[in-house]
Amino acid sequence: MSVHVVGVGMTRFTKSPESSVEELGVAAIAEALADAGLAARDIDALFCGNVFGGLAVGQRVARAAGISEIPIVNLENACASSGGALREACAWVGSGGSDVALVVGVEMLTNRGGGLVASDAHGPSERLGITLPALYALRASRYMADYGATAEQIASVTVKNRRNGALNDRAHFREPVELAEVLESASIATPLTLLQCCPNVDGAAAVIVVSDAALARRGRARAIRIAGWGMVSGNALDRVGAEPTATLRAAHAAYERSGIGPADVDVCELHEPFTIAEIEHIESLGFCEHGGGAEYTASGRSAIDGDGVAVNSSGGLIARGHPLAASGAAQVYELVTQLRGEAGARQRPNARVGLAHIMGGNIPEIDSNACVVHVFTR
């Protein structure tokens, strides 16, 4: 039994504080249904990822979209919420519980006041005043000490992703930036500067997945197969100097299940709320050796026209913006668009294999709340 993506949709990710999860969710769903050539009545299960919207966001979005009388599951795993919702949808479809499942990721962030997103308010680090960018900055300081990477190399992630975002009409930031501008922007947590942090935005994205039987009824046109997946939650890091391994473990599982290796991947959307994350993740995903991620990025290998894996061709979290729970589904939107060959000016030529990586973490002593990897083939 395979699971196939037949429709994707997303709003532009940007600051729209007057909007609502219902309005954004309905817009993303409408585009996904039209893309799939399906109607709301064809959907037989809904999986909704959201963090800050309150209770029953899936039910509220479904009501506004005219979808009823189907099972609805709400899922919160921080930034990995809609990546996890896709995993649940695939599990239902793969086990015969659903033929045509709808995944929605939706988030309203800018009506919360903007600025720093709250970290773990209940943990032992709260009194220190640790922030999410500071957690990544700590990793950057260690990475630079271990491998001799420079602040310029790390900041080059922003230059690449802003260049990609300028080619994506769904991205928040549509203008490229120069390296000097990135380095000279306000310091947030050394060595990370403001333009190395993802912007808080609002948005929604939707994905429709179907069974083999439903695909046969509908036809295979523009369908993308989900070839494998991995999903882990974080190990405790507060003892014996353990290293974060969530990405390694989730990627290993996805490669094992799909029979696809890192050398086969053409396009990758990964979780880079801060520049250093992209550099470490391309190593953990196996695109280059450990310690090689900074050079891989700075030398242009992960650009759309580079000779490596095209990483975050959408602009990623840094340019597209990061409405927490919506980002995982937006990654699928980008990969499906690339694998269909419909990405226009940002198309990686002949892209055949895509990998989505999303993780959520807000607790310093845990190696991410959850990490989800999916592999897609055309």
């Binding site: 009194r127 000490a145 310091s187 947030i188 947590a189």
Partner: protein, 71 residues
Amino acid sequence: MTGVVYACTTLHRAFPGHTVPFTVAWIDLPDGARVLAKSSAGTDEGVRPGDQVTLAHDVELDVQTFDRVSR
């Protein structure tokens, strides 16, 4: 207690109630534990991974604090 800096950063943006800038570090202890601590001076932009530090407990703030000893 002495330890070695594993990683460090100086925060220039923080939540309300925290005065910036301030420096925090993961400190590796001899028994293998790793703890988050704040510079006793508030800010120490010169601290680097590998530096030796002493650890103390700030009773008023109820947080661990570190002081740089040597590189």
